[in-house]
């Protein structure tokens, strides 16, 4: 039997999944697995067309934010907890970090399995802190106001131009805009969509979130034009030493290892909790990727896909060491690999306060509108309320159509 699997082109993930496929097919000689990896953002479009035209893969890896259309329209096959070696769905939930499986359960059935979750934390360049007379262990910012204050001390300007950014957040594409804007609007007490399902990002909370993001540019601790135009990878600036602080996800740790061996060897970076509007009410981001099975696949293929999913997620410590991906299972924290992974405790602590990104079949519209609004505000100095009103106008039109 041939199983078709689609994933995305994260090199470390491709390599590890290929290894897992080799193992699985060696154990199951009657199964062959054909893999097709496409770029992260193209996967969303390719999968949509393929699923719509009956040419989709038997199973796939997908960003959480792109799952709702398939989830709501029953295009996915249920994944049996027993096939994953759990006695029941409750037993599976118990093995995972609280709340990380619930979004994928409908009518008591599991339709996708998170294999690595993302949150966003703050990465610091310790050498820059020391150079500016700051102690990276004590003086790191806990609030967004402090990010500006500390950022000013770290920023270097030559000839009127910023040559080292005190702080930056990445917004190279809509997904990364979502990673910074949505936790901020949540921190401010709002959400992108209101209880009525309509756009709510132009609420006072949304305006506050956008004003905070604009403040880094207006206070001249960040030059948003430098990386946004050509960044080959997000969150690479901290690894390249051109920013002193940057928000990044767990993969950023691996970007530092591969792009700046000197920084990695000398341990001159630090990961601290994601800054807050009010540190007593912590809110962070929860995003990531899941494995899902095509609901149109035949019963015997679904059975094999479930078993292959079990194999894919069977070694969370390997996902961490080989891909720098944090599997949301409780057992991970106690492994030697987790203890050796820099700042995993901080990352997993941030994850505890994570809220899932916009969960709606119209999420692509919402995220694209967020991105346009952020570009208008941060790159072109448009008023936050005006930009978000425009975004909501676009989103509400999409929701109504």
């Amino acid at each position: 039997m041939q199983l078709v699997f689609w994933g995305f082109t994260l090199p470390t993930q491709v390599e590890y999944i290929n290894q897992l496929i080799k193992e699985y097919t060696a154990q199951h000689p009657n199964v062959s697995i054909q893999v097709d990896n496409v770029s992260y953002t193209d996967l969303e479009k390719k999968l949509l067309v393929a699923m719509g035209t009956g040419t989709g893969p038997d199973m796939f890896a997908i960003n959480i934010g792109w799952l709702p259309p398939y989830f709501e329209k029953n295009n996915l096959a249920a994944i049996s907890p027993q096939a994953l070696n759990y006695a029941s769905l409750d037993a599976l939930k118990e093995a995972y970090l609280p709340g990380t499986v619930d979004p994928f359960v409908k009518d008591g059935k599991l339709f996708a399995l998170p294999y690595y979750l993302n949150t966003v934390s703050l990465f610091l360049n310790s050498n820059d802190f020391k150079e500016a007379g700051l102690d990276p262990d004590k003086d790191y910012p806990k609030t967004w106001d402090q990010v500006v204050e500390v950022g000013k001390k770290l920023t270097k300007v030559e000839g009127g131009k910023i040559t080292r950014q005190g702080f930056r957040f990445t917004f190279v594409n809509p997904v990364w805009t979502q990673f910074i804007f949505e936790p901020l609007i949540n921190q401010a007490g709002g959400a992108t969509l209101g209880p009525d399902g309509k756009c709510a990002m132009n609420s006072p909370a949304g305006v506050k979130a956008m004003d905070i993001l604009a403040s880094f540019v207006r206070q001249k601790v960040m030059d948003p034009n430098l990386s946004v135009a050509t960044a080959p990878l997000p969150t690479l600036d901290i690894a390249k030493g051109v920013t002193s602080m940057e928000t990044g996800h767990p993969l950023t740790v691996d970007f530092i290892r591969t792009n700046n061996p000197a920084m990695w060897e000398s341990k001159s970076f630090k990961v601290v909790p994601f800054p807050q509007i009010d540190p007593s009410k912590r809110v962070t981001l929860l995003s990531g990727n899941v494995f899902a099975i095509n609901g149109a696949a035949s019963a015997d293929k679904v059975a094999v896909a479930q078993d292959f999913t079990r194999h894919l997620v069977s070694r969370p410590a390997d996902w961490l060491t080989k891909v720098a991906a944090v599997a949301p299972v409780k057992a991970l924290a106690n492994t030697a690999e987790a203890k050796a992974f820099p700042y995993l405790d901080v990352i997993m602590d941030d994850m505890k306060y994570g809220r899932v990104t916009t969960w709606s079949k119209n999420a692509p519209d919402v995220v694209a509108a967020e991105h346009r609004a952020l570009e208008a505000v941060v790159l072109n100095n448009v008023n936050s309320k005006q930009a978000l009103d425009q975004a909501c106008q676009e989103v509400n039109r999409a929701l109504g159509s």
């Binding site: 949509l48 719509g52 135009a229 570009e375 208008a376 790159l379 072109n380 999409a398 159509s401």
Partner: protein
């Protein structure tokens, strides 16, 4: 008929059938994942009051005007230069044609780097005392950057068309005009331009159609940003269909786009025909 069959089959399968399907789908609400639901003309009526669609039309025509109009002049000017004999000219002629045959994706990525705030374009302008321009991230300059890249890409193609046409103009006409005392400008004005009129009509019509369809540069260089400033109609149609999964609405946009191009082409051809008859 048998001679035409391959072309007819190609046109039928890859053009006519998809266009007919698009016209049909434009009458449905279709998200690819659920069965299509008939909605009549509501996709079309929603476009009448859709500011995003209107903005995309304006962006498209700004882009077309910005690229096509200079192309008409620059392509002809280069063709006139290269129409004269000379080995050096032949080398440059080949070099000038390179943009038309280079990979459009590679070219878009290279332009993206050239227009980076710390890229070559700003470095050259800096040498002239011009302050840093955020080409691709400013609402004011992003479209201009796309237009520059578009001109670079489009000029050589039309230069070759002009050049082929210029080769067909008999040199006797110029020699006779020179004997009558005509200068170079008069030769161009009263011999070259009238004889090139069919080619000029072709270049104007085809350049407008081609630039209206430009998609790769906005997609790769700006993604339609910043803040939707370079979201031309083909890009909006792509986003609406494949990103926001509203195939019915995207198809309606495509049909409106098709009608716009057709009307525009008919008007242009009529104008040139009229101009020809007036002479």
């Amino acid at each position: 008929m048998a001679f035409l069959a391959p072309s007819l089959v190609y046109f039928g399968v890859f053009k006519l059938y998809p266009m007919t399907q698009a016209a049909l789908i434009s009458l449905f609400d279709y998200d690819l994942l659920s069965p299509p639901r008939y909605v009549g003309l509501s996709n079309y009526t929603s476009l009448i009051s859709d500011p995003v669609f209107h903005h995309a039309i304006v962006s498209s025509f700004s882009y077309v005007l910005g690229v096509a109009a200079p192309v008409w002049v620059l392509a002809l000017a280069l063709a006139l230069v290269f129409n004269r004999p000379g080995r050096v000219r032949s080398v440059f002629q080949v070099l000038y044609f390179v943009p038309a045959v280079s990979s459009i994706i590679v070219a878009a990525i290279v332009w993206k780097f050239l227009f980076h705030p710390q890229g070559l374009v700003n470095a050259l302008l800096g040498g002239l005392g011009v302050d840093r321009i955020n080409w691709l991230t400013s609402i004011d300059t992003a479209m201009l950057a796309l237009i520059i890249a578009g001109i670079w890409r489009t000029v050589p193609y039309f230069m070759v068309i002009y050049l082929a046409s210029l080769k067909g103009v008999p040199t006797d006409y110029y020699e006779a005009a020179a004997l009558d005392g005509a200068n170079t400008w008069q030769g161009f004005r009263y011999i070259t331009v009238p004889l090139l009129r069919p080619t000029i009509a072709l270049v104007v019509v085809v350049s407008v159609i081609l630039t209206l369809r430009h998609f790769i540069n906005p997609m790769l260089m700006t993604g339609g940003g910043p803040a939707g400033a370079t979201r031309v109609l083909p890009l909006l149609i792509y986003e609406t269909g494949f990103q926001f999964s509203r195939m019915g609405l995207a198809s309606a946009m495509s049909m409106v786009f098709f009608l716009m191009v057709m009307v525009f082409t008919i008007v242009q051809l009529r104008l040139f025909h009229q101009m020809g008859q007036d002479r």
